[in-house]
């Protein structure tokens, strides 16, 4: 079990003086003055035993600030956050590779860290030799490695090339072998940093399977990843780091949702007035705005949640049989599905002034990804185009517990249709099944 209390880590960052670079008439006097100040500062640092930083000015950078959390035994904790949030630094401190500036960590149990695949692999040594080398570096005894050697090689699928120097391996083989060694570690606490993002999809499935095994064995796992689906699938709880601080801790799905939400700041209200119109500016009816429907806070929809939004229309005239068309496109421009109110038989009456309509997609299971919506409005039973705004709305569908359930990442296409499966008992199948398994 792990206990982290007020952990902080500070780095010193040097900066070169920008100003002197801009003046083309830098006096020699200024250059000498600056360099002497640097030498004086560095000498004082050496005497005081402090770190020597290259540059003219030195700034403090807190990679971690007052981070606190607890992990119970057997728990799998996911650590997520943007690049630069402090995830890798946190893992480094937990792995005792670097020392904290302040705070305290208590670890109960043997710790093994996997911060990089193939740590210590030497290109001149053969696969066999590197397994022993890497295993020893990661903390496995020789007897242990010997015992698990066949398992490791079978997992990596490199039996044929065991006695070839690793420098001749393809990148896929290299990574498989490296991960295979690490996957057979048996510590009480396992710390993993984004190393599952390697290899082809077959291998990734294997890795995920192995990770699942590890957590079922009752080991405590700390897992950093950018793949939200993997995080939801493997982790019970999650920690969201931002700028070195803990932003949120809690259930993995909730924390992931919070993270994905946070990537989209601010306004949900979209003004369509200034958007480009390829077919000319509208004269009578204008599509003026769009917004999400409460309780939705932004244009990010978790997979499986229904898609709804409001469209506002400014009009100078009355149209009784207007047709509002919504086109759904992938960001590459492929048209996925288009619809107008004529399809559902709903009336669209546009009156002079400001009009508001709500569009509700029922059961539209778009796969995680980014999409755009084009909106158009026609009058005269669909003959006259009044206004059309392509790319009016950009929105995103994200991973959710539901998509993790169905392994959404393995699906192609854009959406998941509604279909059912039921067994038939009355009809006898005619094709023989005897050749199955031959």
């Amino acid at each position: 079990m792990i206990s982290v209390e007020n952990l902080s880590k500070r780095y010193l960052v040097g900066h070169r003086d920008e100003r002197t670079g801009q003046h083309s008439y830098t006096a020699l006097r200024d250059v000498i003055g600056r360099e002497m100040r640097n030498v004086a500062r560095k000498t004082i640092d050496v005497v005081r035993g402090r770190q020597v930083v290259q540059g003219d000015t030195v700034e403090e950078f807190w990679a971690l600030k007052d981070v606190s959390f607890e992990v119970q035994q057997g728990e799998v904790l996911g650590i997520i956050g943007r690049n630069g949030a402090g995830k890798s630094t946190l893992l480094k401190v937990l792995s005792r590779i670097t020392e904290p500036t302040a705070g305290r960590i208590t670890l109960r149990g043997r710790v093994a860290s996997l911060l990089e695949v193939g740590t210590g692999f030497h290109p001149e040594l053969t696969g066999r030799e590197n397994v022993y080398l890497n295993g020893a570096i990661l903390g496995m005894g020789r007897a242990e490695i010997r015992r698990k050697f066949d398992e490791i090689v079978a997992f990596a699928e490199v039996e044929r090339f065991l006695d070839t120097p690793v420098k001749r391996y393809s990148s896929g083989m290299y990574v498989r072998l490296a991960f295979a060694v690490a996957a057979h570690l048996e510590p009480e606490i396992l710390i993993i940093d984004e190393v599952l993002a390697v290899g082809d999809s077959e291998f990734q499935k294997k890795c995920l399977g192995k990770m699942g095994e590890v957590s079922r064995d009752g080991r405590t796992v700390l897992f950093v990843s950018h793949n939200m689906e993997t995080v939801i699938k493997l982790c019970g709880r999650g920690v969201l780091l931002g700028s070195g601080q803990v932003v949120e801790i809690g259930d993995a799905s909730a924390v992931v949702a919070g993270y994905l939400r946070g990537n989209y700041s601010g306004a949900t209200e979209i003004s369509l007035n200034d958007k480009p119109r390829p077919f000319g500016l509208p004269t009578r009816i204008r599509l003026s705005g769009a917004n999400v429907v409460a309780p939705q806070l932004d244009w990010v929809f978790p997979f499986g949640q229904s898609l709804s939004f409001d469209i506002w229309i400014d009009s100078t005239i009355l149209i009784g049989n207007a047709e509002l068309g919504i086109g759904l496109f992938s960001t590459k421009g492929y048209e996925i599905a288009s619809w107008t109110n004529a399809c559902s038989g709903d009336q669209c009456v546009v009156r002079p002034g400001v009009n508001a309509f709500r569009v509700d997609y029922e059961d539209l299971m778009l796969l995680p990804g980014q999409y755009s919506i084009g909106v158009g409005i026609r009058s005269g039973q669909g003959r006259d185009l009044e206004d059309y705004v392509p790319d009016a709305i950009l929105f995103e569908v994200t991973a959710s517990a539901r998509s993790a359930e169905i392994n959404g990442r393995t699906f192609g296409g854009a959406l998941v249709p509604r279909a059912r499966l039921s067994p038939l008992t009355e009809v006898q199948p005619t094709t023989a099944y005897a050749d199955l398994g031959r």
Partner: protein
Amino acid sequence: MPDVIIIEAGLQERNYWRDLWRYRELFYVLAWRDLAVRYKQTVIGAAWALIRPVLTMVVFTVIFGHIAKLPSDGSAPYPLMVFAGMLPWTFFSTSLSEASGSLIGNANLIGKVYFPRLIVPTATVVVAFADFLITFSILAAMMVWYRFAPGWQILLLPAFVLLAFIASIGPGLWITALNVKYRDFRYVIPFVVQFGLYVSPVGFSSHIVPQQWRLLYSLNPMVGVIDGFRWCILGGQSDLYLPGLAVSLAVAAFFLWFGIRRFRKTEKSFADLI
């Protein structure tokens, strides 16, 4: 009973020595790695370990023995005396040079995996020891050639090997720790080793040093080690200056203590600076 590890700023690892024992196999593995890599894809690779000391011995014998006509110890052949001095010196200089750069050379490990960092420079000394054993076999061959039988003193050789080990690991640890922070030392070490080769009694016997300077001369820990080696190998032909040996031993022990202390103090910041 599960181990409890507490990590705090400035806290000296209570588990350090236990961790060193637990990771003891890593000493062997890292040394084995360096040796295995050395001779991969080489043709005469292993032979180089033999050619180098033999050639140096020939050169020294010609320069110091024949041209400068410096006296040998007792009635021992000059080449044998030179070689007996070269044996520990090569061990020391290789250890020091390799250990000084070992942390930086293994930067990828230091930044990504935890293990007691003391293992890295120590493993390089183990590699130097492997070379030592090869060179020792050449010495044995030479003794057969000169029909020079060693006395009972040869049984004490392991003690002097240990002294050579101590004399090299102490400064090695200190320099490698300094090297991580201030890369200047990368340029200092080759010079110190070159200089030491002529200052230490490798090419000549320490008996030619005037008596009143011998004690001061023994501040160089390798003086004691080389004298000891010569005494062991050449039997009674070379006497051992005991006060000098004591001084050398004290200096080596001091550097060992100092080196380990400095290393442990700065160890925590290696990953940040490397």
